[in-house]
Subunit: 599 residues, 2 copies
Amino acid sequence: MAKNYFNKRNVDFLLYEVHEAETLTQHARYADHNKETFDMTIDAATQIADNLMFPFVKDVDKNQPELKDGKVTVHPAIKDYLKALGESGLIGADFDYENGGAQMPVTVTSILGYILMSANNGMMFTGLTAGAARLIASFGSQELKDTYIPNMISGKWQGTMCLTEPQAGSSLSDITSTAEPLEDGTYKIRGQKVFISAGDHDATDNVIHLFIGRIKGAPLGTKGISLFVIPKYRIDGTDNDVTSMGIYHKLGQKGVPAMHLGFGDKNDDCIGYLVGEPNKGLNYMFQMMNEARIGVGITGASIASAAYYAALEYAKERPQSRRLNQKHALDAPQIQIIQHPDVKRMLLFQKAVVEGSLSLLLETSKYFDLSEASDDPEEKEKAHLMLELLTPIAKTFPCEYGMKAISDAVQCFGGYGFTEDFPVEQYYRDIRITPIYEGTTGIQSQDLLGRKVPMAGGKATMLLAQEVGKTVMAALQYDELKRYALSLKEEGERLQKVTMHLLGIAGTGDVERFLSDATLYMEMFSLNVVAWQWLKQAVVAKQKLIVSSDNADDVEFYESKIHTMKYFFHYEIPKTQGLATRLMDEEVLTIMTEKEVVM
Amino acid sequence: MAKNYFNKRNVDFLLYEVHEAETLTQHARYADHNKETFDMTIDAATQIADNLMFPFVKDVDKNQPELKDGKVTVHPAIKDYLKALGESGLIGADFDYENGGAQMPVTVTSILGYILMSANNGMMFTGLTAGAARLIASFGSQELKDTYIPNMISGKWQGTMCLTEPQAGSSLSDITSTAEPLEDGTYKIRGQKVFISAGDHDATDNVIHLFIGRIKGAPLGTKGISLFVIPKYRIDGTDNDVTSMGIYHKLGQKGVPAMHLGFGDKNDDCIGYLVGEPNKGLNYMFQMMNEARIGVGITGASIASAAYYAALEYAKERPQSRRLNQKHALDAPQIQIIQHPDVKRMLLFQKAVVEGSLSLLLETSKYFDLSEASDDPEEKEKAHLMLELLTPIAKTFPCEYGMKAISDAVQCFGGYGFTEDFPVEQYYRDIRITPIYEGTTGIQSQDLLGRKVPMAGGKATMLLAQEVGKTVMAALQYDELKRYALSLKEEGERLQKVTMHLLGIAGTGDVERFLSDATLYMEMFSLNVVAWQWLKQAVVAKQKLIVSSDNADDVEFYESKIHTMKYFFHYEIPKTQGLATRLMDEEVLTIMTEKEVVM
């Protein structure tokens, strides 16, 4: 079993040295906080992760929840960790004081999520609860808040998000669940939802569903969707007619039950409580989507992190063969496989993906915090635009590249990686859902190119270019970084050219063609943004090396950061060439024509 | 459950129209064969695949073999299919008549393997048996042949390859199993082997291990390795002291038991029979390696094939959302997801990988046949060089790109792809071992760049360039193909430039640096070779369209071939740009230096 799943030194570097989380405490919302409160919270999460989560990685995977006689039983360890997280105030740490939170910046709670999820992503119950409670906190009546939030963020009640329906999938405009107004202001709910994570289980006393449906007579499409709170048990303890109709057996993340739920299916007696105004449900959902998507990005980065540290540990210990220049020295001892260039390359890739993703997630989280907490309207607007632009990337890159990174982790283990004797085969399975749920990569990519890039007249991309420009300027100060600064600048120009080309197509009104290769555009854009994060890290490492050159551990740490930045520019960035070629290419091959190509 | 796992029309196209398998029957070895005997054999395999294999895909995965009281029990369906394949003469169909085979060309038996493996890759027992029996047929004494081959190719006895040891992994020079000569000419064997596929089970009466070890006093390294036959039960029925010490629980291919075996572990009474001469064992193995590696390539292509047809079927049936240009037509019916460009792109990728891989595998198999059967020494030498050059690619591309293709198949299914309700999650697991066993991708890549490209003064690459040139010339005849012909020519030049650059490094004697990015070189080389295979298919499709323009099914089929060729050139080939950039790049980042970068 691997011993590590994250690196505390790296967390400190990213949180404090690169993204300067302490500066957030200048804002009134976070004024009670300082590095000590952040560290205490991180330590509390680490304790729980080390003691109550990481030891159960395999066990939770092996004993997946089952549905029997209408009841879902999950691994008993889940109850313990929910209790511990709730008691430590970690589930709603970033909630407002008035809702029982600690007003912790999301920049810090993203790190909590990273630590917990890399310890055991099969125990991802609390993120779901927090997301659901946050919807109530943001848009619910005081009564709904008082009734539900305290029991949710204390870990006593589970929260869920009930969006997907069997016939609609990602197409939320096609959902058909109905809500019929009752005289007392509540609604009678009928419908079915699928893939509801943590949709039912026995580790909490109640399950609170945040549910979208149509009030009878509502307009077609997304403008007729309303949001409801639907508890499994009503407050008086009576059953609210939410039925567990099925449980999915899945490739990974087996600890978390994914449910097929029926509402009003048994006795036509399922009551829902409207959140906010009618027909605004999807609007509310969208306002919560950035956090949910950042959360999935963190999941991807976390699973890849656990796999990377397992592979790194193995590669440092496992002897095999000799250096390629010394193949024939048969009596020489075998070397550790990390010394083989091909293995080293795969480890550098994993490190580049994990640490680059985490840096991007913190960058995005910090814009989230500033968009919430800044008093300066200009800074607030900028933060909001950057958050909107970066969110689909922060959701997608850690998951898509995380999958590749974990595949390389498996490869580092050779045949052993394919066996259950080592943990990576599980991580390989677990991460596969992340580019699907909370908006597939295809949907994130359409969001990036179709909405985020053009929004506000392209202002967000301009702001991003300015930020990248600052990092380029800083990097140009150091001889060793100069070529990478220039490379990043050049990559920005290449991306700009592709963007202009695509917006030209959008200008013709052919949306389908404009967006047809959005997924490739996403990859190109992501590589740019992550290269920026790596150069940013390298600049800080350079600065620190000047002052910390007497601490051998620090020197090693910072030099490794610069080395990994170089890896990213020399091995990953060249991929943008081919992507740009395709994206500028006029040949249309994937759009349905009158004369359809049969496959 | 999916209904299809391969496409017969495509098999006919590749086998007869593109690779002209019938021309092989001009050679004496295959003189008894013709299209009818090929078709009959393919039909026989299809019957078995349809009736005895495909129906058990999930069941074999769910009921993986267990080791209890020293015995391994496999799924009962395995015994039935072994019997059926053995009785139909399909296990050793390509063996010489004198060894009980039908002297079927490997070009045809590769198709048999493809059909069987895409039906159910968890039943891959016979390929292992054939490989082991082939070693005996090629290098064993008449007595060994008579004793073992008939029972093996009739499916009564299982064959295995026992190479890997726990302390050595891929480094065969470090194996330590020993063989002590006994007075009767046999050897007393001691040692342990790991990851032995089909290493023990109850679906056959005996298990025949082809085993490498060192005769006492043999030289160090690979030059001291000898090959032995070690039966589980001796011919007189007594136990030969081969112990099942452990069974691996694996990510995929769960139907096939992977064993940890002890030889002479119980009573120091394990007898081995030397194959051929002492110390030539690895040599013998190497001479069989091309077939084994082609076999793994077929496995990769087969699993990807099964996943592709499942995804294609789903994408044609599943309605979701509307066309991007008609997003707001809310009362319009939903469209089938194959009509979404992003889904179509993923399906084209899968098709391009599956059919491109299969074409490459047939090309390689045909060179195998010609290297065996040609009477013309020049043709024979050419075939041998082409076989040597293409084999590492034919092993690697179908597995590496097959993994990506299956990941896209999962994505086409959305959330359902992650569940056990559909077959793709299993294929996603099953294929993950293929870039590891029978020589990892790293090792194949070093073989390609380090041995195959420079061999015979670069003659093989020259021959390949000639063959590609022929396809380019043929394609230039058609207006629609012209730009792709020119593109392939240009890609060949790009590859040539990179190769020269790398050989320049080899010339300095720095082998480690020469080979440090061999895996990237493999990807670039593979993309070239598969683009060639696609252009070759497109040329044939063009030719056929001229004569078959009145058959609507044929027209659709051939046009889809040309369309997929275009996909490959427009979406996959641009990747070579970034690969070339990296491969020409002087910056060394993965080679151990005195001042090691700590990770």
